[in-house]
């Protein structure tokens, strides 16, 4: 399974985090620090995989943003790398030429897209069309501002 997903910038600023196992906040901060230093220290054109404790860390850089997954030891590295790629494609499709700023300003959307794709540390839907359809459907549900304001809350 996937243990966690982190998105951080070249400067080491965290942009997104999703944890699929119960970990204390303290421990999370430590892991985030470890991951950013470790991944940012990697030379260009190195391989995309690292061993870290008893986990495999899979990372890939897209422009200024690093996507970093930790998976169990017996999991498949290459398919995890394509999990990252697929997520980037989904973001790209939604935002159109996605950039780091999109994710900063619409972090909640980035989470929603992720939740349609990965849940509980496993891939839920591998078809791009299906995920996109689900996200579009959820956007359709979002009320226009006028509707929103006039709808009762409870």
């Amino acid at each position: 399974m996937i243990r966690f997903l982190l998105l951080f910038s070249r400067q080491g600023k965290l942009r997104l985090q999703r944890w699929f196992t119960a970990i204390s906040e303290r421990e999370k901060k430590k892991i985030i620090r470890d991951m950013t230093t470790m991944v940012l220290a990697r030379q260009p054109r190195s391989c995309n995989f690292l061993h870290w404790k008893d986990l495999k860390v899979i990372y890939k850089r897209y422009a200024s943003l690093y996507f970093c997954l930790a998976i169990d030891n017996q999991e498949n590295e290459l398919i995890a790398l394509e999990v990252i790629q697929r997520y980037v494609e989904l973001l790209d499709k939604y935002f159109g030429n996605v950039c780091e700023l999109d994710i900063i300003f619409n972090f909640e959307k980035a989470y929603f897209i992720l939740d349609e794709f990965l849940i509980g540390g496993e891939i839920q839907e591998t078809s791009k069309q299906m995920v996109n359809r689900a996200i579009e459907a959820s956007d359709m549900l979002q009320e226009t501002m006028e509707e929103y304001m006039s709808k009762p809350a409870f």
Binding site: R15, S46, C47, L81, Q85, G120, Q124, E125, K151
Partner: protein, 958 residues
């Protein structure tokens, strides 16, 4: 500002994010955040009820602040309110906040669970999905308690929408992982398996993940999934790339699902059903074949997806470990990847080969890539790839390549990345010990490790070298000499000082005979390092000094002087001060005898798992240490290392024989320390090097002997132990035992059922052996089979002199055990106890029988009862040389019959075993296969026990 803003953008949030981004300094950012937090807190606490929109906006701001790395300790309540809202946008944000910032506040959990329950029961698939995602992502025990029984029914209900099924499957998976006790197995499990047949590939993918996890825990319950998984996999693998529409990823059909199905199959052994098994084999072959096809796209995503499936298929092949063809194909495929231009593939190939190396079918195939792997170690730019290369070298190491691999790792160590040095040190130490045939090599290797990477040599490593040196008396002299030389370096690592101090303190006497390493020189050398060392090392050195006082009375005054100095007696460190005072007093008041008793040589360490291996396991996690045969690990390395060599391939030794073969590894009595009272000439050339030359008594049947001294395969090292026992199977004369004090040589003659052994005890020291006695003991069974008469010997053996003892032997009936020669004597006040297994074997009582081809086959047929024949097939351990084999068979005692076997390459022999009670005729046939480097040995005798024993004895000789 954001490029897009779909749905209802929250202006306030965007403004806040912009503000934060515009902050020029960290302080400014913190200030802005604190201001915002105060604002939000006051809004939440304010009297005026907040509208949903504001709540949502503020909760989002909190989330953003949290993502920036700040702790958020409020807002949960508002988030729960949002989650319970009937407005989708609010609900979504509420769930997001809870799933990102979950907090095991029990009151809150109840409220959250309430919201989840409403949504799960809403029959609105969108809401249900939100709830399921939240449960799957949080997965707390409270949620499991509340929903674990409800989710299975959602999963298998006929009217559940596909997307909800997917969420439910993964939700159940998560709950099963966190609280397996709360997820009841039941009627739903059978129906879950059938989801593998679902039309919707997304449902199949989620279900496969769930089934894999469940099957790992209770494989029996999910056995039916094998057939379904194979069928599904087969359909995917053989489909055209467009068949699966959007589930085709860069021209690869359903890679995620394929990988998951292959993982599911790894929960089980190969299918028993032949048709199913061949269908699966076909799938695996197809996947391997596809790897050779030209790529359908140049995109890296295409090759990644394709190779992900390939690697998972290889993992399954390795897991089954039953199809040699597939294993070798897998190995070849990985071999291609070893030189691929993609770093990722090189990395994965190295990693995957590590597991392949432990399969008996592919170990040899993996070994053929050794040069590529060594090259990777030298040339890869990426440290993680180099690390995998180190792992693979470790995994592929065996007796044949251990010297090369250890040498390569050592040379890599000099430039290795700091992060992996300690691990390499551990690995080198483990391999050097495991494959040490020659323990001088082991000692050299460890000292090199300390020299090159002293900082990374952990305690376990240097403890271990000391344990081994203590337990193996044949390497002690060499170890003392080597550490002495290593300590000459002007700057040597403190770990070396520790090892040096310990070893010289125990065994410095063994090199003290040379004036260049006289006791005083040794002491001065150690003491020159003293002031540069840390407190623990100094403490260790002080102990070495007091041991010196015992070993070398002539340096007592010098050492007492050192102990007496203020820097010792008044040392600020209490441990050092105490040692100095106590040791000084001990040296002053104790008599030589008491001193010798208190400071006797360390007794052998008990056998246990190597502490180094334990450390590597800790470091890498138990699953990550490539397979090491733990049984081979014990401190008394001698027996084991060589045992594993001699038993390799054949495993002929019964456990009791194994134990019997270790005569020198018996626990020594407590007082076994040679106390050196006059260490004058010790260590200089021994007065004799060749026992046999000193004795001129002619040996009967000398034409059959293979003289130990002309046997070039015998190493000149002092490595004499049970291995010598088996060397005496085919010859009668030679050195059976040697340590620093004593050498024991044998000359034996046998005629019919009688034998005579001349035992020569050589005193290698310049001092007398007193109270010398030597007797033969046999097990109770053996006493009824073999009579051994010993003549008493002179109780004194002068320094450098040799003593002869004659043993008369009579064989009453066939036997398997061997008598043991027990030697006791006092040397320098200490009692020495040595036990040597006497090489009296059944074949010694052979009389060769010449016979013609016709007679041979006639008798061969007569001995055709199955119990009369024993056959074994084994690997050649020595070069397959016809002349040597001839000599060995003759030495075994039978007549070598030429022209009997139709194939000239085969060896045929005949002889009669003479015992007092009976005579046993024996025919043997040895068939070498020079291509496979194997032999087949067949023995036929009229007695089963004789056939078996002779087969055991002889099969070990080639």
């Amino acid at each position: 500002m954001p490029a897009v803003s779909k749905g209802d953008g929250m202006r306030g949030l965007a403004v806040f994010i912009s503000d934060i981004r515009n902050c020029k300094s960290k302080e400014a950012e913190v200030k802005r955040i604190n201001k915002e937090l105060a604002n939000i807190r006051s809004k939440f606490k304010g009297d005026k009820a907040l509208d949903g929109y504001s709540k949502k906006k503020y909760v989002c701001k909190l989330l953003f602040i949290f993502l920036l790395g700040h702790d958020i300790d409020f807002g949960h309540m508002e988030a729960v309110n949002l989650l319970s809202s009937n407005k989708y946008t609010e609900k979504q944000i509420g769930y997001l906040f809870i799933s990102v910032l979950v907090n095991s506040n029990s009151d809150l959990i109840r409220l959250i669970n309430n919201g989840l329950k409403n949504d799960l029961n809403s029959r609105n698939p969108t809401f249900m999905n939100l709830a399921l995602h939240c449960i799957a992502n949080v997965g707390s025990r409270e949620m499991a308690e509340a929903f674990a029984s409800q989710i299975p029914s959602i999963l298998v209900a006929g009217d559940t929408m596909d997307s909800v099924k997917q969420s439910a499957a993964l939700c159940l998976l998560r709950l099963n992982r966190t609280c397996p006790d709360l997820v009841p197995m039941g009627e739903w499990t059978a129906r879950v398996v059938h989801l593998l047949n679902d039309q919707h590939l997304g449902v199949v993918t989620s279900a496969t993940s769930l089934i894999t996890t469940l099957a790992q825990k209770s494989p029996e319950d999910f056995k039916t999934s094998i057939a379904l998984a194979v069928a599904r996999l087969s359909r995917i693998v053989t489909s055209a790339s467009i068949d699966l529409q959007d589930y085709t990823y860069y021209f690869v059909a359903a890679p995620w699902l394929s990988v998951k199905l292959l993982r599911l199959l790894q929960c089980y052994t190969p299918p028993e059903d032949a048709a199913l098994r061949s269908r699966l084999t076909e799938c695996l072959e197809t996947i391997l074949n596809k790897a050779q096809e030209p790529p359908k796209s140049k995109k890296v995503q295409h090759s990644n997806a394709k190779n992900a499936v390939l690697f998972e298929a290889i993992a399954l092949i390795i897991h089954y470990d039953s199809e040699p063809t597939l294993l070798v194909r897998a190995c070849n495929q990985l071999g291609q990847f070893l030189q691929h231009r993609e770093t990722n593939l090189r990395y994965l190939a190295l990693e995957s080969m590590c597991t392949l190396a432990s399969s008996e079918f592919s170990h040899e195939a993996v070994k053929t890539h050794i040069d590529t792997v060594i090259n990777a170690l030298k040339t890869e730019r990426d440290v993680s790839v180099r690390q995998r290369a180190v792992d693979l070298l470790y995994a592929m190491c065996d007796r044949s390549n251990s010297k090369q691999i250890v040498a390569e790792m050592l040379s890599y160590l000099e430039n290795a990345d700091y992060s992996i040095r300690e691990e390499i040190v551990l690995k080198v130490a483990i391999l050097a010990e495991k494959y040490a045939v020659d323990y001088t090599w082991y000692v050299d290797t460890i000292l090199n490790l300390i020299r090159m990477a002293g900082d990374y040599v952990s305690e376990e490593v240097w403890y271990r070298v000391i344990q081994i040196v203590i337990n193996r008396d044949d390497v002690q002299g060499y170890a003392a000499k080597t550490v002495f030389e290593a300590l000459q370096a002007p700057a040597c690592h403190e770990n070396l000082v520790k090892v040096g101090g310990y070893i010289l303190g125990e065994f410095g006497n063994l090199i003290a005979g040379d004036s260049r390493s006289s006791p005083l020189v040794q002491f001065d050398l150690l003491h020159s390092k003293f002031h540069l060392c840390s407190v623990p090392t100094r403490a260790l050195l002080l102990s070495a000094y007091i041991k010196f006082i015992n070993l070398f009375p002539e340096v007592k005054a010098t050492i007492q002087e050192v102990l007496r100095s203020d820097s010792q007696l008044r040392n600020a460190d209490v441990e050092l001060q105490q040692r100095a005072i106590e040791y000084l007093r001990l040296s002053c008041i104790a008599s030589t005898d008491i001193l010798a008793t208190v400071l006797e040589e360390m007794p052998p360490f008990p056998e246990r798992e190597s502490s180094i291996l334990a450390k590597l396991k800790r470091k890498k996690g138990p699953g990550n240490v490539p397979d090491i045969d733990d049984a081979r690990w014990n401190v008394n390395g001698n027996g084991n290392a060589e045992q594993s060599e001699s038993a390799e391939g054949t495993n002929k030794f019964s456990p009791s024989l194994m134990a019997d073969l270790l005569p020198t590894n018996r626990p020594r009595p407590a007082s076994s320390s040679p106390t050196m009272l006059s260490a004058g000439t010790m260590g200089s050339a021994h007065p004799f090097t060749d026992l046999l030359n000193l004795n001129s008594s002619p040996s009967a049947g000398a034409s059959l002997l293979v003289d130990v001294l002309s046997d070039s395969s015998t190493p000149a090292s002092a490595d004499v132990s049970e291995e010598n026992f088996s060397r005496f199977v085919c010859k009668n004369n030679g050195v059976i035992f040697e340590n620093q004090l004593l050498q024991i040589g044998l000359k034996s003659e046998y005629r019919q059922n009688l034998g005579r052994i001349y035992v020569f005890f050589g005193n290698k020291t310049s001092a007398q052996f007193l109270s010398f006695s030597s007797s033969v003991t046999s097990s109770d069974t053996l006493k009824t089979q073999l009579n051994v008469h010993t003549k008493p010997v002179d109780p004194t053996v002068e320094g450098g002199a040799q003593l002869q003892q004659i043993l008369n032997i009579e064989c009453l009936s066939d036997f398997t055990d061997a008598p043991v020669l027990d030697i006791q004597f006092r040397y320098g006040g200490a009692l020495q106890n040595i036990a040597v297994k006497l090489p009296v074997m059944l074949n010694k009582f052979f009389q060769p029988t010449e016979m013609a081809s016709q007679d041979f086959f006639q008798r061969w047929k007569q001995l055709g009862v199955p119990q009369q024949e024993v056959q074994t097939i084994f690997k050649a351990k020595h070069p397959m040389d016809t002349d040597v084999t001839n000599a060995k068979i003759l030495g075994f005692g039978v007549a070598l019959l030429d022209g009997v076997d139709p194939s000239p390459a085969n060896f045929v022999g005949a002889g009669v075993i003479h015992t007092k009670n009976t005579q046993v005729g024996c025919l043997l046939r040895l068939e070498p296969n020079t291509q496979a480097l194997m032999y087949r040995l067949t023995l036929r005798t009229s007695r089963e026990s004789v056939s078996q024993r002779l087969c055991d004895l002889l099969s070990d000789q080639f």
